[in-house]
Amino acid sequence: MDLTEPDVASIDVDVARLQDAVRDATRVVPEGARTQWEVGGAPRAGTLVRAPAGVVRYEPADLTVTVAAGTPFEHLAAVLREHGQECPLDPRDARATVGGLLSAGLSGHRRLRLGPLRNWVLEVRFVTAEGRLVKGGGPTVKNVSGYDLPRLLVGSLGTIGVLTQVTLRAEPLPAASQWATTARPPSDVRAELFRPSSILFDGRRTRVLLEGEPADVEAQLRAGALEPAEPPAWPPGANRGRISIAPDRVERLGARLTNAGARWLAEVGVGTVHVAGDTPETLTAAREAAAEHGGWLLREAGAPALDPFGVPLPNFGLQQRVKAAFDPHGKMNPGRIPAIDPDPAREIA
């Protein structure tokens, strides 16, 4: 696939077919590269649908890029890199599709400096339960024309519509980029650094990603007494989850996680704690620890018996109304956010 010469006409044909498929299906299961297939509840059986792939429009001077939602992230990254740019969605697995990444809505490890995934999305196009093609947002870097459908779609796990195309903001690649490490506590390190891209802490060592002008990276290494290091590894284990917690509670939570036998890596200043263990029980214990500190754990992989979210959806009535407004019969990716699916008994009644 030559991604610099998009075949927009064929993408349009694929989208039209996708609209037909969604309209005619009784249950729709959107599929990307299945790199985050276990995020949320297990998908129920239904008609598998895929978005087309390809770069639709890329204007480096505008710092915007439009891609079909089935485009693998690694292809997008390669196209942007040729012009010295990136879109920091930062997936764990670069084979992930852009649409899949946005549907799962999980931000990458540079959220501290670059913000959450949702901030990079300018426009979405998606197919609704009735098979209509809907656009939300707009292609410019700044826009307040109408309601923010892009933010509704990000993280909705395919339960509102099937993403077909998105416009993303791009950024110049940093001139220099360096991981570094220290034994000093992360809060001390954070106080000394200006706009670090990431500060990770595993209970023993603090790891920092510095990006920007080469002189600044050097100066920050000195200021924080940091030693250059290799990028850190994610905590290994078949059972994985991510905890969301107020950032100032991360270090206290970490001690509890260690006691619970979990391996973990916290994003300092963000409040995301990546957890892994050899058994499902580790995630259960980590979830309890998170709850004690006012947080919650999203199951990301393994532990199939574990509830995907483990907490009731906040503002459940409002969430239900939003779901029902777009998908009253619950045909869009049922099971993925189990609580939001319409009650079949009620529907019959």
Partner: protein, 472 residues
């Protein structure tokens, strides 16, 4: 009407609700041009007061309109449908500054600049900085998803709002978002920000505080042509630099500002750029060098780096008082707001001047060039017969030109009443129907700021529900 005011007074306090002609006139419009009419105006001082006011309005069968300082330019706070206007300006406390999480909890009536001032001693600031920041409220900023010059690098309001306590249209309370980085389910916080008061009223807002940069430098660049200035904007981005702010002023507005403020802008330049770079000192120095190089390639005739904080503040004072400066030229102005792709700036600007010329109007441009956010400013004397028709016609044509260049209707002012009829220019019937569904899910009653944002007929099938005997 009397019952309504009495009920509001009983709930909020005798001095907290009025329906006298003076108040109704004062609150009939915001800083935009559309006038409406309120049934009553009230000034709650707490979340409970807001909820009570909403419930009382509903009990009397009236809609409600939230209002901060009324600096909005799109008529978002204009009362339509004889509503109760709920003014948040008495809810103006910074409730909590949480330095560990770099978050402040504020009431909606806190002024944008007061928030930044209240955390200045901590080396922190609130990043969105609309030009009206001395007067506008954070609650209003949330409603419009406000921007400002420094949103180029740091993002608009939505990227700085972590959580909201809101009163929904049925008077119930909800917390949207939170200090945790993610919440299960849909991003209701993201849906609410920018919804222009049509989903409810925010009564407590958790905003992200940003650390002050160690170094800030501002450059003033003057050019003999708008083309060269615009090419410099593109050149800076192409050099891999996203400045903290990147503003452009054309010849007319530069002269007006210079006469008004005396900031040292070149009075004979065709266009002026203000470029602000921030970060660590070495990097900022390197970027100043790069920007100078780009500017001289484009034959900049003025390249001045503000020598100190006082000079820097003066340059920004010039930029932010542009709209005050034009009062010396003509008594009235109509300020537009649209966004085009950065690469289309030059040809869209040419069209803006041509359209104004055709309508025999004077237009000035001062805008956020870095993100393509145009603010054509038509200046006129409203006493001239027939002038409003020309102003509106020119405004429509300018907006059309922006849309045809691949742009959008608004970058930071919002849609409000002003642009809702233009929404079909960029959205299909299905697009608008989807937006209406989201709005209605938050407010099934339709009582929250009715007739804003979406044009009539946005809901699928709505257009077919024509009352009996109506003209079609």
């Amino acid at each position: 009407m009397h019952d309504l005011v009495n009920d509001l007074r009983a709930a909020l306090g005798t001095d907290r609700a009025r329906a006298e002609p003076l108040e109704l006139a004062l609150y009939a419009r915001d800083a935009g041009v559309a006038r409406g009419r309120a049934a009553a105006v009230c000034w709650p001082s707490s979340t409970d007061d807001v909820a009570a006011a909403v419930r009382i309005a509903r009990r009397h069968g009236r809609p409600f309109v939230a209002r901060g300082s009324g600096t909005g330019l799109a008529g978002g706070a204009t009362p339509v449908g004889d509503p109760v206007v709920i003014v948040t300006t008495h809810m103006n406390r910074v409730l909590e500054v949480d330095t560990a999480n770099r978050v402040a909890w504020v009431e909606p009536g806190v002024l944008n600049l007061d928030l930044t001032r209240s955390v200045h001693h901590l080396g922190l600031h609130y990043a969105p900085d609309p030009s009206s920041q001395q007067a506008c409220t954070v609650g209003g900023n949330v409603a419009t998803n406000a921007g400002g010059p420094h949103c180029l690098a740091s993002g608009v309001t939505s990227t700085h709002v972590l959580a909201l306590d809101v009163v929904l249209a049925d008077g119930s309370l909800a917390r949207l978002g939170g200090l945790e980085p993610d919440q299960p389910g849909y991003d209701l916080r993201g849906c609410f920000v920018g919804s222009e008061g049509t989903m409810g009223i925010a009564t407590r807002i958790a905003v992200r505080l940003s650390p002050d940069p160690p170094a800030v430098r501002t450059l003033l660049l003057g050019f003999d042509s708008v083309d060269d200035a615009a090419a410099t904007v593109s050149g800076i981005i192409a050099a891999g630099i996203v400045p903290a702010a990147l503003e452009m002023m054309d010849a007319l507005i530069t002269r007006a500002v210079e006469d008004f403020v005396g900031a040292g802008f070149p009075r004979d330049a065709a266009a002026v750029l203000l470029v602000e770079l921030d970060g660590l000192p070495d990097g900022v120095d390197a970027q100043i060098g790069a920007v100078r190089a780009v500017a001289s390639e484009r034959s900049a005739r003025t390249v001045r780096v503000a020598a100190d904080e006082a000079e820097r503040a003066l340059l920004w004072k010039g930029r932010k008082s542009a709209f005050g400066a034009i009062a010396r030229i003509a008594p009235d102005y109509y300020l537009h707001d649209a966004v085009v792709p950065r690469t289309r700036l030059v040809d869209v600007l040419e069209q803006v001047y041509a359209i104004a010329g055709e309508h025999r109007l004077t237009v000035m441009n001062v805008f956020h060039a870095g993100d393509g956010n145009l603010h054509p400013l038509i200046v006129f004397d409203a006493r001239e017969p027939g002038i409003w028709d020309r102003v509106h016609a020119a405004g429509d044509e300018i907006l059309r030109a922006c849309v045809e260049a691949g742009g959008v209707l608004s970058g930071e002012h919002g849609i409000g009443l002003e642009k809702r009829e233009a929404m079909p220019w960029i959205f299909s019937a299905d697009d608008l129907d989807a937006q209406a569904r989201l709005r209605d899910a938050f407010d099934p009653t339709g009582a929250a700021n009715p007739q804003k944002v979406l044009p009539a007929g946005s809901r699928c099938g709505e257009a077919t529900r024509v009352p009996e005997g109506a003209w079609i």
